[in-house]
Symmetry: C2
Subunit: 214 residues, 2 copies
């Protein structure tokens, strides 16, 4: 390896992980969190590369318990976009008896979305309907998917165990997340404001999957 | 739809896209960019939900031309992680004759990484080796993958047409991107600092794929 001779490049993956988490720990000094919530926060900071995102992270007080119980009980994870699906540790999830799904690229979803005049991400949630009951719903991209899930809950069609809701962007993302917090229908984890995205949602789901404690 | 009755929720995907891009245009008012570079910048702002990321975006003056020529010529896109692979519009890419690849979950890569004491993302780049010649290399997560590609170029093993290099995090990410800029071996697009991630890399690749001009 000749590149970056003057740099102290760390190549070992375990060492990178250790060093990375220790740097993030420094940013969190003086703050106190429950262990699993700290894992969630650290993973979101890690995936965004931005310690300032801490101030935007909002974790419902029942979220980690509800999420861990559901995942360990073999619940499924329903996602809005394929990037999120690609990031979730499905092997770990399958080990508990569940799996992760995304319907956004399915033909029946494209057709339903067209007919209903809604996004494919929202159409996927509507077509899953009562299947979302007891599941973890993870939305990293589309505010309309989050609005749709809140509507399904209010209508009594499904009650997810947990919503990991971190849609991103300037049209409806902030509003959908604030509505989720305000309605307080089920436990949630979110990143408030216009920021968020699939990596943040993945971080939350995997933190819950990897958590070793009770 | 009963949820969010007091909100002006936009459900139509085209309208969301239009409104979103018009909000981002407002953030860019008074600034001047070449059309394709503006597309790249707008997509990165869109996917991060953060107009302030503009100041960290760095586009090599030959990057868009080199990337568009290579993609239209049927080059492949080699990615470091599956989340990035999941976001690239492969249909569009296949229409030009290329495809997108990620080897991080392959068994031979896990074995090679273990033997070499490097990350799987870096091992994938090393095993691709000369295949990276003339390609678009997109790295959204692993600084070690970017260090490795820069090394392959310096050793004369491969010369990608473009590097989309937006690794994220606190261990090596900033350093790998600064080294890419400093060495200036091939055209690049990057987000400087600790931030970045797969969505930013996806944004750049898709902006180049979707661009209609010359």
């Amino acid at each position: 390896m000749s590149i970056g001779e003057n740099l102290q490049i760390i190549w070992n993956p375990q060492e990178i992980e250790r060093k990375s988490m220790s740097i993030i720990d420094e940013y969190l000094q003086g703050k106190s969190f429950a262990p699993v919530e700290k894992d969630i926060i650290k993973r979101i900071i890690h995936t965004t590369g931005d310690p300032d995102i801490l101030d935007s992270i909002c974790i419902h007080k029942e979220a980690s318990r509800a999420g861990i119980e559901a995942l360990r009980g073999g619940c499924n994870v329903y996602t809005d976009v394929n990037m999120l699906l690609a990031g979730v540790n499905r092997k770990k999830l399958q080990g508990y008896g569940g799996d992760a799904y995304c319907k956004i690229a399915d033909e029946d979803i494209a057709k339903a979305a067209q007919e209903l005049g809604i996004t494919r991400a929202a159409a996927a949630m509507r077509l899953w309907g009562s299947q979302l009951d007891g599941s973890v719903v993870a939305i990293g991209n589309a505010p309309t998917a989050l609005f749709e899930v809140l509507d399904l809950i209010e209508k009594g069609i499904a009650k997810p165990a947990l919503i990991v809701g971190t849609p991103v962007g300037f049209v409806g993302a902030m509003e959908s997340k604030e509505l989720m917090i305000e309605k307080n229908l089920v436990p949630y984890v979110t990143v408030r404001g216009t920021r968020g995205g699939s990596p943040s949602a993945v971080s939350v789901v995997n933190a819950l999957l990897y958590y070793q404690g009770n």
